[in-house]
Amino acid sequence: MTFVVASFLSITDMHLTKLLIYALIVTALPFTVNGQKGVGTYLGDESAFYASTKQVNQFFRRFNSEEDEEGNRIYNDSKKYHSPRLRRKYIEILFDNETSSLDKALKEIFIKDVTDATAPIFLEFHGGEWFAEVHTRFNFYGKESAAILFMKLQEEPVGSKWVIDKVYFEPFNELFKKKSDKDGKFLHPLSHELDFMNLNKIFEKKEDVELYTSREHKPDHLSLFLLELKKGNLSFVTIKNVKFHFFQIDNWYFELSEFNRKGYNTGWLISNLAKLDGEQKESYKKFIFFEND
């Protein structure tokens, strides 16, 4: 704790209230330099690194109280394992308390809900209902474009792996028009009597061709994406950033983002929280996947 106090004394431009909040958090969870230590030498105040939720794995462990205040793994023979008291403290610091405008009352309901002593709710790495949103850049016909890859963890006969579940690629979105019967582009209902000879007209105007597909048809960006990659028209450039969406807890959704900034409220933190009832969950997923009509 000596180092933490020393660092606080050196900060002069930070607002007092903020400082007090940090002090409370750090006092509640004493990240001393005794834990998580090993590879190097002491290079000054390291308390911020200890406080930071450094990996998504650590987010899971803190959320479930599966590691102690010093970052050491705790197992089910320990009193601290899944301790509701510790979990309440941990989950409190797992929210982005600086930039995301999270509703305080909602946050409290959420914490109360998941740490309920009679029916606690834990996060499970292999429990499904969570996925990654990866923002990338690809070269498409010589022009750099943003692509969003939705990745999910797939269980295998041995182990597991991340797979691409969906893609959202803006150039494809621009390519496919929203369907409307109002613009008079359709095959009349007696076309079959003419052996569909009028098909030639619809394929002449390539830009409108999707207007002649069924109501249910939705362009599958992932298949198109793979086709363009295989044809050599699309090539990977880089990753921009990553975030995660969690639907694993019944009636709740939260988003997990990485915050790389000064202070103690850093690393992988909850950046969005919503209470979802019934069908809202599927609607929310559609919204994230850009699948809303």
Partner: protein, 191 residues
């Protein structure tokens, strides 16, 4: 690395081999043994990076150390680097990364590691190997004779692969588990 150290790691790897053979799941004791082995490799990497980056290291010695450092890695390992000013990840092969470090245009370079580490759980891959991630923090300081100084702190998320291997000792084939380093994500931090 001295012969003794290599021997120590080999014996250490062998000592955990029997425990791991018995079952697929990694018990807390086995996990600790694997973590220690992985940290040895990470410490070696840290040491090599400091030597490669040091301007007092002769060219031939730096090249020799690069070769030793490469032995720590699984084939095809890459460094994915981003900075505070550039969010995009820039990719380098491990050897390319070391060579760039060696060629940095500073008169004095100091690379130190913070006394902190974070080790993830081990997860099983479809090929049967286990994978984990060790997070460490590094401080880099470069200084030119004309007084120009550059300093940064980076977070390094290092992939570790825990792999079953075999060796022959006295004519007997003995299985053991070894740790190899994989891709490393390097992120500049604000600290």
């Amino acid at each position: 690395m001295s012969k003794y150290k290599f021997l120590f790691i080999a014996i250490f790897a062998l000592s955990i081999s029997g425990q791991l053979l018995a079952q697929d799941e990694v018990s807390p004791e086995r996990k600790q043994a694997i973590d220690s082995l992985a940290l040895e490799k990470v410490k070696d990497l840290g040491k090599y990076i400091s030597i490669i980056g040091n301007k007092d290291t002769p060219f031939s010695e730096a090249n020799r150390v690069i070769n030793r450092a490469m032995e720590l890695f699984a084939e095809g390992a890459q460094m994915g680097v981003s900075s505070l000013n550039r969010e995009e990840v820039k990719y380098y092969g491990a050897r390319e990364y070391f060579e760039r470090l060696m060629a940095l245009n500073y008169d004095r370079v100091t690379i130190k590691w913070f006394n902190i580490q974070y080790i993830s759980d081990l997860e099983r891959q479809p090929d049967g190997r286990y994978v984990g991630v060790i997070t460490i923090y590094q401080r880099f300081q470069g200084e030119s004779d004309d007084g120009l100084k550059y300093m940064d702190t980076t977070k390094k998320d290092i992939t570790i692969y825990v792999e079953r291997k075999q060796t022959q000792i006295g004519g007997r084939v003995i299985g053991f588990w070894d740790v190899l380093l994989g891709d490393i994500r390097v992120t500049e931090t604000t600290s």
